[in-house]
């Protein structure tokens, strides 16, 4: 956190400052929506390695970070991108080829883990996963846990309800808090101090941000401080949690940003196709990521015609009648 009045910076600087080899991060968004894709691409471009990534169902962003070779450890609930990839393709390959060490949780558990981190407590209880292999099977060994001060000593802990039978509950699962070194989110509006306003679903972005040591926000619109101080019940994250603000139109592209643009079905289908094969994927990386000095260049490459096709209808917040087959 930081209480500065002006935290605006450029994306390359923000990533260089906060995203280090081996750091623990989380990214916002859900499957094909509001992933901080510009930041994901910049991390790949800067060739940051050995990241420990916390994800619930972050979909496209997770798959690209894995495909770009930045991830070594992954705590995850779901590696899928909706209809475009029921199981994310580079994720699946990396797990099957033992290129990443993965540990499974549920979506609620990952969200509760961020919430616990944001609340400053070591765990939260739930009834989810009792009796399942989510509890029994660990991805990270006792040794790996013992070697890292950034990992709790157990995956999950089952406990009898100490208020006997209260709420008709006999047992709960305790999920350990996550406190990422850095969380990156993409929002519709932010001001220079870092106040954030998300439109539509917030997913787990708020908890992910508040649980982190540092937060980078990319935003579609950079607003005057005065603007977001009006109707401030619409702001979900106050500036005290934020370290860097980057003004980045289309920062979630090729995923969607409600009220601004839809996901790009053409890009995502093309991605899924290229992701199947290492050689074609290498070409994808070269042309779309390494080949673009920044996100603006990628958007330029996609072209105005396609960008206007996915531009959001102001009433519905998505691109009506977009060809999504």
């Amino acid at each position: 956190m930081n209480l500065k009045q002006d935290k605006v910076t450029d994306l390359a600087t923000a990533v260089k400052t906060y995203i280090k080899d081996g750091c623990h991060i989380s990214i916002g968004g859900f499957t094909i929506n509001r992933n901080p894709m510009a930041a994901v691409y910049e991390i790949i471009r800067q060739r940051v390695k050995n990241i420990h990534l916390y994800a619930h169902s972050n979909g496209q962003g997770v798959d690209e970070l894995i495909g770009g070779g930045s991830i070594s450890n992954l705590e995850i609930a779901y590696g899928g991108s909706g209809k475009f990839a029921a199981t994310c393709i580079r994720f699946r390959k990396a797990v099957q080829e033992n290129l990443v060490t993965v540990e499974d949780y549920t979506n609620y558990q990952m969200t509760l883990r961020f919430l616990a981190g944001s609340m400053g407590i070591p765990f939260l209880p739930t009834r989810s996963s009792l009796g399942t292999d989510i509890i029994n099977k660990w991805g990270f060994s006792h040794k790996m846990r013992g070697d890292s001060p950034k990992l709790p000593d157990s995956k999950l802990v089952e406990m009898d309800n100490p208020f006997k039978g209260w709420c008709d509950v006999e047992k709960v699962v305790l999920v350990p808090a996550i406190n990422p070194d850095v969380t990156i989110i993409h929002v519709q509006q932010a001001d220079r101090r870092g106040n954030c306003r998300i439109q539509g679903l917030t997913f787990a972005d708020v908890e992910q941000a508040k649980s982190a040591e540092h937060v980078i926000v990319t935003c579609e619109e950079l607003c005057d401080n005065e603007v977001l101080k009006r109707d401030s019940h619409q702001n979900q994250i106050p500036f005290i949690h934020i370290d860097a603000v980057v003004h980045l139109p289309y920062g979630a592209y090729p995923t969607a940003c409600y009220k601004y643009y839809d996901y790009d079905p053409r890009y995502l289908k093309d991605y899924a196709e290229k992701a199947k094969d290492d050689i074609s994927y290498g070409k994808y990386l070269d042309s779309m990521i390494y080949g673009c000095p920044d996100h603006a260049e990628l958007i330029k490459k996609i072209g105005q015609e396609q960008m206007s096709r996915i531009s959001a209808d102001p009433e519905t917040g998505y691109a009506k009648n977009l060809d999504r087959r």
Binding site: T31, N33, G80, S81, N107, T132, A204, Y263, N321, R324
Partner: protein, 253 residues
């Protein structure tokens, strides 16, 4: 009447949904089943996504539960915390019906959507639980969609991702879970249900043209076929509403 297997499966699920249900949907056919129910037989049912959207006005089919289309004209746009709390909540959770898919199922309706092979070095990796284990843990009723193949109906799951009846009668209670479990499993051949007493899967209905014995051959474990009847195919009206009101863009069908 002319209908596809996908249409048959969708309508089988839709008919199970009641007017007072809050329907937890995933991507694809499960979302379509919820939309079909709302447009056909359960207009007051409430469509609900783990991403936090409740009572979405789905003018177009979302291609993921995070699709912006689920955010349009909801009763509230929250986040994952709100959605899962609604399912775990003692009052609202009792009204939720979950619709799930999986890669493997066992005779007690437990599901694997995580890995084939050893967990730490799997031969096949799937997407993982997502909200599947959560909804299966919390809610009283769920519907499962699967393809009917021997390698999917197994004696022993490679990984138990989402709880059905666990090890049978009383299994959920012993594990600490609330009452619940799958009420039906819909495949490309048949509708399976679970015995009230033994909690074991049985054949409830086979699709026209499919024989119960053929179905048994596509499963590792045996199930009771004595109670099976032929399923009633979609009616003309059901099909029309499904095709024109739910998926006129033919994104799922």
């Amino acid at each position: 009447m002319d209908y596809t297997l996908k249409e048959m499966m969708t309508i089988m699920a839709a008919r199970e949904i009641r007017n007072s249900d809050i329907v937890f949907c995933g991507t694809g056919i499960s979302m379509l089943a919820a939309m079909a129910a709302k447009n056909i037989n359960a207009p007051e049912s409430v469509i609900f996504f783990e991403t936090g959207a409740i009572d979405s006005r789905l003018e177009e089919i979302p291609l993921a539960v995070g699709d912006s289309r689920v955010m349009y004209q909801t009763s509230a746009n929250g986040g994952l915390l709100d959605a899962f709390a609604t399912m775990q909540n003692k009052v609202t959770g009792k009204h939720v019906i979950g619709i799930l898919g999986a890669a493997q199922v066992d005779k007690f309706g437990n599901l694997n959507s995580t890995v084939i092979g050893d967990y730490n070095s799997p031969s096949i990796r799937f997407s993982g639980s997502g909200g599947g284990c959560d909804v299966a843990s919390f809610v009283p009723r769920s519907i499962i969609f699967m393809q009917h193949e021997k390698r999917k109906f197994v004696n022993r799951l490679d990984y138990l991702t989402s709880p059905g009846y666990l090890d049978g009668p009383g299994g959920r209670k012993r594990a600490g879970l609330p009452d619940g479990g799958p009420v039906m499993l819909i495949t490309n051949l048949a509708v399976m249900r679970f015995d009230d007493i033994t909690k074991e899967m049985y054949l409830s209905a086979f699709y026209p043209g499919v024989s119960p014995v053929d179905i048994l051959e596509k499963m590792e474990f045996k199930v009771d076929i004595s109670r099976a009847t032929e399923a009633t195919p979609p009616t003309e009206e059901e099909l029309w509403l499904l095709r024109e009101k739910c998926d006129h863009q033919r994104l799922i069908l």
